[in-house]
Symmetry: C2
Subunit: 345 residues, 2 copies
DNA sequence: AAAAACTCAGAAACCGATTACTAAAAGAGG
DNA sequence: CCTCTTTTAGTAATCGGTTTCTGAGTTTTT
């Protein structure tokens, strides 16, 4: 294993000083003769010179890196967000570091600390940690952060929220407008802001229509994998059908749980949507692939990533430290899992 | 925005030298009196000291970071791989940087370069770039790499391969053993090693059984998103049904395409598996969520991540530079999309 | 009581880059 | 021919840590 070639090695080979080499190789507009430029460029290429970013970043105090902290990369919603973030970052020559908190507050805090240590100046995070003291400290030391998806109750932070309450309301309203009156809501634990908001939206729509809400909450574990969510969708549907035999529609708090609900209904010989309508929430791509294709509320995930990254880069570059709060709106995606119920049924 | 507090600031506050502070804060076993230890630790905490990793890493020439380069994070197969990698990395206090090449060789090479510049010493990559000269150069300069999923034809690199050929053979054989004789194979372009291998496995099983292969290749674009794969599955199924009306089973080269195939069959009023059997490839979680649950060939994705990371860390720590090649075996996951065909039909 | 060994702390070099400052050489103007 | 710019290159300080080396003070050995 050879010693890595440094800027000084290149300088020696080119009979120049490291200062000149630095100016050439980092495209500074400092005056360097054309001959020197060519020579250094050529020699650096021949020697397979790879600049050491640690040295550069230490001196210039810029890492050109933004961090993203999300619950899980294997959730299609978040992977879409990341795609959006990366696209914008790439356009601006920024690098992106993605960390999965796996719903574990300690991991989240650990990643936050690590990023600060790595001199990351901007972070996009979907936080589940209750303890914001570390984050607050970082913000005071010049870090910038954008909260996405999950609200963080701090003044100093820009938020890109999604109107979960309205989404929950829209989904429920959609079912009501299709003649449904006995509508169950299947949700995972109401321990996160997003969950409680959707729930509120459901309750509001039901109460406005004078209907009695039927809510079933999954007591499942914290680890959230697709399989677990699918299973809890199946179980919640089972419970609902047993306790409320007269339901004509079920609203699930996310698409994968809706898949589970449909699975249970289908295995029980019930037809979707003819016997029961089902509506989901999230708008992941797989929703179009199941049978019947899932009607759902779409969150603008990719757009959220784009927007978050743009906002963050603005902050980093313009030193504009105003904190704003954007609210993205839900969109109904009508596919085939919801149908009109006749009045008498 | 305050100036960040450095190790020298802490030294001043504690009436000590930066050397001593460094020794305390980095848990060196260099002798430092208990009183000094306590004092420095306390002051550092009070001052919210955050060490600058750039300085540390520059001096020690270690980044404690491994890189992962994959085609796309939104492919569930790769996101499982990453989960495995991260788990092992976390146990060893390593950080993981994930990069999506998005099937673009230029992006892949760019990320490789960036990682080298950031002094990442170990990389796990699923490469699609033909040009291995950059990689070879990095390997000679002390970088370590593990190729997963896609073979790289270099001596100096350890490989964790998956036996695609056997998987293709097993899938086909499974259909044959269930009495099918007219079996179509739906695949995306045969431009990657994995694709050609599965294809070969299919051909081998067919020829051994004396059956005539029926292959339909998607000419779709390079951009591979789930939606695109789903659509091309739908289209391939359409073509197949028109050109070969007597098919009784279809084998798709990945699960999402199989979803597309099933969608087409279902919309045409054909029942799966009663009229046609379908088998997929990959074993993503969503396969259990569709109707009927998809029979498929499972790749050990998570295990691949675990293994790749363990192997890489061994290399990085033991300086053991032997290059080995591991071949992971496919596993048949029987669900409900394949059924036995009666002889006469 | 002197010598040897040990404990603990600090001074300063160093990692690989950037950059403020200095200086030599070349060209312009009188 | 001599001064005044202008152009181009180099010297050395610096970023925030780590670590080698040196040395002061204390304890143990003889």
């Amino acid at each position: 294993m050879k010693k890595p070639v440094t800027i000084h090695d290149i300088a020696k080979l080119a009979n120049a000083s490291s200062a000149t080499v630095s100016r050439v190789l980092s495209n500074s507009n400092y005056p360097v003769s054309a001959a020197m430029r060519e020579k250094i460029t050529r020699i650096a290429k021949e020697a397979n010179y790879i600049p050491n970013m640690l040295g550069k970043q230490l001196k210039t105090n810029t890492s050109m890196t933004i961090g993203v902290i999300i619950p899980s990369i294997s959730n299609p919603f978040y992977s879409s967000v990341i795609l959006g973030v990366e696209e914008i970052a790439r356009e601006h020559n920024y690098h992106v570091i993605v960390c999965n908190s796996l719903q574990n507050p300690d991991f989240e805090l650990g990643y936050l600390q690590t990023m600060a240590e790595k001199q990351v100046k901007g972070i996009i995070l979907s936080s589940i940690a209750q303890n914001t003291s570390l984050l607050k400290g970082l913000l005071q030391n010049g870090m910038h952060a954008i909260a996405i998806d999950q609200r963080i109750d701090e003044e100093e932070i820009s938020q890109i929220e999604f109107n979960y309450a309205k989404g929950g309301y829209m989904a429920t309203k959609h079912l009501i407008e299709h003649g449904h009156t006995r509508i169950g809501y299947a949700t995972s634990e109401l321990d996160r802001h997003s969950r409680t908001e959707i729930h509120q939206g459901y309750l509001k729509a039901m109460s406005e229509a004078g209907l009695k809400p039927v809510v079933e909450i999954s007591g499942a574990g914290k680890v959230f994998s697709s399989s677990n969510e699918f299973d809890s969708g199946k179980q919640l549907a089972d419970k609902m059908l047993e306790r409320h035999k007269d339901l004509t529609a079920i609203f699930a708090c996310n698409d994968v749980m809706a898949f589970g609900v449909i699975h249970t209904l289908t295995s029980r010989g019930l037809r979707v949507p003819d016997d029961l309508s089902v509506i989901g929430f999230d708008g992941i791509e797989y929703g179009q692939m199941i049978h019947p294709p899932l009607t759902t509320i779409k969150q603008p995930d990719y757009e959220m990533g784009i927007l978050a990254c743009k906002l963050l880069l603005d902050k980093l570059q313009d030193k504009d430290s105003s904190h704003l709060s954007v609210m993205l709106q839900p969109r109904l995606v009508e596919r085939a899992s919801v149908t009109t119920r006749q009045a008498g049924d």
